[in-house]
Amino acid sequence: MGKNVKAVFFTLVLSLIVFAGCANTKSTSPDLLVDNQQIITTVNEESLRSDCDTLVITCIDYRFASANQDFINETLKLKDNYDHISIPGSIFNFINPETRELVFSKFALSVSFHLINRVVIISHKDCGAYGGSVSFGSELSEYETICSDLRKARSLLIEKYPTLDVAIFFETLQQDDDKTKVNFEKIP
């Protein structure tokens, strides 16, 4: 009898430990110990400005984040001259009627606080907010859907702010040998 009870208790305690362990899994990634980082940027008189004139809207996706930064800073030459709004799906929530008001109010904040006269919107392929490439069925339909969303966003923005100049881009990942390149296509 006593042995039986012991066995039952043993399994009980074991299952409790396993359960507690399952419930309290913590990530094992190492700690980031970065504190009091000083970053010094030189500003030349010519490009020194108290305000910016461009608003950039991109997606948060990590595969495109640094490519976006390079593209905006170097290719578009907008360094230090843009407000960067980065939200999942870039304009996905703006097209969605449910969240349009909220997202638009955020865009409007940026437009009214700064002297924005140009907007750059960048959407990308295989976007998680749309459910990834697989949810479209084919590459062509994905391209068409995102382009039409971009155009819709452009017309919505121009409708509210007729003086805005809106540029829209679609970016894709390209496998080039071992390197992955990001290709930007301007949508007319």
Binding site: V5, C22, D35, I39, T58, I60, S66, G89, F113
Partner: protein
Amino acid sequence: MCPLSLTYLSFTECLSAAEHVLTMKNTPKIVKITGVVVSLLLLIVVGFIVAQTSLASEDSSENGETTKNGKYSKFFDEKTVWCDALVITCNDFRFTTATQEFVNNRMGLKGNYDYLSIPGAIRNLLDSNTRNTVLKNFGISVRLHHVKRLIIIAHQDCRIGYGGSTNFPALSDEYDAICTDLKKARKLLRIRFPHLKIYLYYGTVLCKDHQRIYNFKQIL
């Protein structure tokens, strides 16, 4: 589901153990001790079940949406590489370059982070009107890219979130107010995403003869 079925198993085991104890009349001392232990264990198990169900009910709304759409599940199967961190920051143009430098090079996270920037950064999370949308957006990054860290960067003179430095009587007041907000946000996020590590930073900028000196201080 697995932990729930486990608790159910242990629960039935407890019951059978209790029956065992009740039938043993020749060893009264053991019965007393084991009785106490069994009731204690029962309490713990019931507590766990209650906690688990409350957590599950909190999550169900979000899960319901994803299964309803049915699109994320397909997307999920195809991905094998995930990213490390989600960086949440403000969209202010004075800080974009410095933030990029800070995250890319100082933290060494280049190409390995989701970059989420919204006007007022963490202020949106504390505002009850926008909280749900913001949390949903954070959730997309957490669910689809399996981020392990959240890095929240607030900054001095945030005009959109706090009305700028002029809204505060002194710089230290601004620092205190933003730090409290950051900590509040951390508390909120810990409830929703308990498995994530959360880092808070406060950025300041100092203009001095053709140079801008940015400083990012970690808030503990």
